[in-house]
């Protein structure tokens, strides 16, 4: 307390130093007078008395200094003094300060913006209570090459009883796309089914109404904040209101808070279905569905994703061991379905965001390079501030300033510059982060949680401090190292050789880093072009896609088949429509579905059937899509109920399952996800890129919709003109067939194709942008060094010209000065790029991380840019007037 009070008084002393100074002068004077009085009283002459008193007092200056130090805080004072000095310097040379601050603001701003995204997505804790205790539990089967998969309902029930280290809750491993009728309007919505305890396990309460309870029927739903706002305008009386989902009416019992986002699609790593959109609009109780739907009783139907909360004091390893033991017991008890499967425990945070970690960290790394290059540029600017500054530092050193004190002064100045840069950078980040979020691929988890918050500001301040110190130390050490005497004696020409070498090294560093980023950007661009030129296996142009739901009265296969037949006939009559077809899963549509399959004659034990992608084809689907028929035939009107069930497979299916055998005429058995349990293969069609353009096709099987009519088909319509222009006509035609038939999700295939490459565009464009930025900064670096060299050697050049040197040879001489650091940086950069190539290789497609043509191209670009940057100052040699330069000194 006393120390604090003293400290506070000393801080105040720093702020108004003059008053204390005057007062102590008076006190010392009084002290001296008293001493002289005493001496005179002791019998000395006044002159002697004064002399003795002064001698006894000693050095007045040092007494005053000791008092002054105690009055204020010397360290703080010297900092303030340096800060004031730095500010004066900035005011004196505002253009220089602005260049430094702008460069740093750009670097720090870009870093803060990317960090905002990375922090919100990767680093920030999940929005649940003690999220670090939450894990996902999956099973996988290395023999069948089946990755993390959901569990079956019976297995989950037994697991729940067996686990000692964790409490588990369950949810259906896919988001349910639904179309709700809210106040007479059809609204597409996404639902999640989960056990009633899930909300409580996540530790989140509703803001209106109540949570799901175990006893709630099938018709109780809790809605999301966004849905509440969108559909009900945030009406607090929404509780008890009903929405209609086409089959039954659902009653709203609660509203979750805005920040409650669950599950992220990435938490439902399911093979069954998966939608790219991340917003769940409503939640319903899962146990009822499980009880009501016989499919869930099947231990071979794996539809349940498990989230568990570790009990207090239980570590991840202990939980893994516990889950492992429990699962082994289940595998032993049911070897025919669970044999060969193993359990896996993944922290929920990792589960949610692990998929985008590589891309985001790549972005963070790339933008960090931009900042380093920006810092080097500022260091270079500082070094180039000319001899004047070095002489000033040398002079101060000669006057007794310690080396540490000189460094402190330089570093304070650069830290102030970078702090001002950070301030501007935070504004840049606040402005660009929303753009980044808007532009980020839709499938990126947690984008809604990205903000430029205090964490980001602290990050900006931290990197600004580090940059400021480093940028200050580089030229600071350079200045502190040169003996003061030498600098002063050498006069205005100064010693520049060492500094020039340092600047050359800095340029080499910049070029090397620019090479690394440019190579990465070039590889990503080539991958992107390779993806774009990938044949999707169908003709995506002039295709319109539309989702419809069969209204409730069409409750049998016959009724739906009749409905769809009338619909197709009506749609084909719309002017501009060439042909129409339909399916249950669209390529590039963001969802997939699969079933187990076995070839008759060699059926493996249940539970070890391989998986195949599964869809139904409607009407003229293959023709409309432009999927080529390779062998046999596609479906005809004759393939309807009552006729033998038939299937069409893709080429990958034929190759993987049959090898050289002929698949036509072979009979297949299909798993419980398929409406048909068996079918005969009648044709083989070409592969198409279903998931994304850069993902190789899976085995795929189609059955005829006339033999298994879907409830919610997706229609494809080939048009002669722009497909987007036909949307209204299609809606009207559908209503002609049945007034309650409401087409939704009307999109062109080109839109879907574009959406499927956005993750790539995002990463590529940002890294390309950073690459161009570093290239520009490196070019400025080269320019700066050469401008300095030409400036310093003007007189020498003048003499040489006067002695008859060829101007052109002098230009070459200067250009060589740029070539050395450029080539050195180029070599170092290529080596670094090769070392770092494993980091990007996962993001490449159709090109190797080591790609000589790319490297050659980048080298050529770098050399060209560097030469252009060097040519501007080098050309100044031609304008040197020998007479003028010789006279100027």
């Amino acid at each position: 307390m006393r120390a604090l009070r003293a400290w506070w008084l000393r801080v105040r002393g720093c702020i108004s130093p003059n008053r204390g100074e005057r007062e102590f002068d008076a006190e010392l004077q009084s002290h001296l007078d008293h001493h002289i009085d005493d001496n005179i009283r002791a019998g000395m002459t006044p002159a002697e008395a004064r002399r003795r008193a002064l001698a006894r007092l000693g050095s007045v200056a040092s007494v005053k200094e000791a008092h002054r130090d105690r009055r204020g805080l010397p360290r703080l004072e010297s900092l303030l003094q340096d800060a004031r000095y730095a500010l004066r310097g900035m005011r004196r040379n505002p253009a220089f300060a602005a260049a430094c601050i702008a460069t740093l603001a750009l670097g720090i701003g870009a870093n803060s913006a990317i960090f905002s995204v990375v922090n919100g997505v990767l680093f920030a804790p999940l929005p649940y209570e003690r999220p670090d205790r939450l894990v996902s539990i999956w099973i996988h089967n290395p023999e069948l090459k089946r990755g993390l998969s959901p569990l079956s309902a019976p297995d989950v029930n037994e697991l729940r009883r067996m686990l000692k280290t964790a409490d588990i809750e369950a949810m259906q491993a896919n988001i349910i796309p639904a179309s709700l009728i809210v106040g007479g309007e059809l609204v597409p919505a996404q639902g999640a089914l989960m056990t009633a305890g899930m909300f409580r396990m996540l530790g989140r309460a509703p803001i209106v109404g109540r949570l799901l309870e175990a006893g709630d029927g099938l018709d109780a739903i809790v809605i999301s904040y966004a849905f509440w706002q969108r559909q009900f305008g945030g009406d607090p009386n929404v509780i008890g209101r009903s929405v209609f989902d086409g089959r039954r009416s659902l009653t709203i019992i609660g509203v979750m808070p805005r920040e409650f986002l669950f599950p992220y699609p990435s938490m439902l790593r399911a093979t069954v279905t998966f939608t790219a959109s991340s917003d769940v609009d409503f939640w319903a109780e899962l146990s009822n569905i499980v009880a009501a739907d016989r499919a869930f009783i099947d231990r071979n139907t794996r539809l349940i994703a498990v989230v568990a909360r570790l009990k207090d004091g239980v570590g991840l390893d202990a939980a893994r061991a516990d889950v492992d033991v429990a699962w082994r017991a289940l595998a032993q008890a049911y070897p025919e379905v669970n044999g060969g499967w193993q359990a896996a425990v993944v922290p929920l945070h990792e589960q949610a965001v692990g998929g985008v970690r590589t891309q985001l960290l790549l972005l963070l790394g790339s933008v960090a390079i931009v900042l380093i290059v920006a810092c080097v540029n500022v260091a270079n600017l500082l070094l180039g501030r000319g001899v004047a500054r070095q002489r000033e530092l040398a002079l101060r050193s000669a006057l007794g300033a310690g080396r540490g004190r000189l460094l402190q002064q330089v570093v304070i100045e650069t830290v102030m510059l970078s702090m001002l840069g950070a301030l501007a950078g935070i504004f840049i980040a606040r402005w660009t982060t929303p753009l980044l979020v808007a532009w980020a691929p839709a499938g990126t988890p947690r984008l809604a949680e990205v903000t430029t918050n205090w964490t980001v500001a602290a990050f900006a301040a931290a990197i600004a401090t580090v940059c400021g110190v480093i940028v200050g130390l580089v030229p600071g050490f350079g200045a502190a190292r040169v003996p003061a005497r030498q600098v002063i004696e050498e006069g205005s020409r100064g010693s520049t050789r060492g500094r020039r070498r340092l600047r050359g090294a800095l340029v080499a560093v910049q070029v090397a880093l620019a090479v690394v980023l440019t190579i990465a950007a070039a590889l990503l661009t080539r991958s992107f072009l390779a993806v774009l030129s990938t044949d999707p296996g169908f003709r995506p142009d002039h295709l319109l896609t539309v989702a419809i739901n069969a209204p409730r009265q069409y409750d049998s296969d016959e009724k739906r088949i009749d409905l769809y037949a009338r619909l197709f006939a009506r749609l084909e009559a719309v002017p501009g429509v060439i042909s129409v077809g339909g399916t249950t899963r669209l390529p590039l549509g963001g969802s997939n579905s699969s079933t187990q399959v076995a070839i008759e004659g060699r059926v493996p034990p249940e539970g070890q059937w391989p998986e195949t992608d599964f869809r139904r084809a409607m009407h003229r689907y293959f023709e409309t899509m432009g999927i080529p028929l390779r062998r046999g035939r596609v479906f005809t009107e004759a393939d309807r109920a009552g006729a033998p069930p038939v299937a069409v497979i893709n080429e990958t299916f034929a190759r993987k399952m049959f090898g050289r055998e002929d698949p036509i005429g072979r009979r297949l058995r299909l798993g419980s996800n398929s409406p048909l349990r068996q079918a005969t293969i009648v044709g083989i069609v070409g592969d198409l890129r279903h998931q994304r353009l850069d993902v190789v096709p899976n085995p795929e099987i189609y059955v005829s919709a006339l033999q298994a009519a879907p409830y919610a088909p997706l229609l494809v319509i080939r048009t002669s003109a722009d497909p987007a222009g036909l949307a209204a006509a299609i809606r009207a035609a559908a209503r002609d067939v049945d007034a309650s038939l409401m087409p939704y999700n009307v999109r062109t295939m080109d839109e879907l194709r574009a959406a499927s490459v956005t993750p790539r565009i995002f990463l590529m464009a940002l890294i390309l942008g950073f690459g161009v930025l570093t290239l520009a900064l490196a070019a400025i670096g080269v320019y700066g060094v050469l401008a300095l060299i030409v400036g310093e050697r003007t007189r020498e050049i003048g003499i040489r010209l006067a002695l008859g040197a060829e101007p052109r040879s002098l230009v070459t001489l200067i250009l060589k000065q740029a070539a050395v650091p450029t080539v050195a940086g180029l070599v170092a950069g290529v080596a670094m790029a090769l070392l770092l190539s494993p980091l990007v290789s996962s993001q490449l497609y159709g090109v190797n991380a080591f790609d000589p043509p790319t490297i050659a191209m980048v080298a050529a670009v770098l050399m060209t840019v560097s030469l252009i940057a060097a040519a501007v100052p080098a050309a100044r040699v031609l304008r040197v007037d020998p007479i003028k330069t010789l006279r100027c000194d």
């Binding site: 120390a3 009070r5 003293a6 007062e23 009084s30 009085d37 000693g58 000791a66 008092h67 105690r70």
Partner: protein
């Protein structure tokens, strides 16, 4: 005469001497305090003013003494220091501590002669 360095022990010791001096003399100015300490030490101590005045300032910043300008016996303007209540308490505490330390040191040094 003993010349002490500007170390922590000496600073603490000097502070206690200043406080004791003010306790016996009441209000006093810097010069007077220095004289008095030198007299009490029978000339064995010479006060360095570069140490004394910062020490006075420190005691004042810590609230143990307060200062006021006044007129001295010589009819000269002078800055007078006097004890505060916190200062009086501090003397008791410091004295006890000093006595304890000094007793330990005495015993320790005596022990070495055995």
């Amino acid at each position: 005469m003993t010349q002490f360095e500007k170390n922590a022990v000496w600073q603490g010791t000097l502070s206690l001497m200043v406080l004791r001096t003010l306790l016996t003399m009441g209000e006093q100015h810097g010069y007077g305090i220095a004289r008095r300490i030198e007299q009490t030490s029978e000339g064995k101590l010479s006060i360095n003013y570069g140490t004394l005045y910062p020490a006075l300032l420190k005691l004042e910043q810590e609230g143990l003494i307060s200062s006021e300008w006044g007129v001295s016996d010589n009819n000269r303007k002078a800055k007078f220091y006097k004890l505060t209540r916190a200062g009086r308490k501090q003397i008791e505490r410091d004295t006890k501590q000093w006595e304890a330390t000094s007793a330990i040191m005495t015993r320790f040094l005596a022990g070495n002669e055995d």
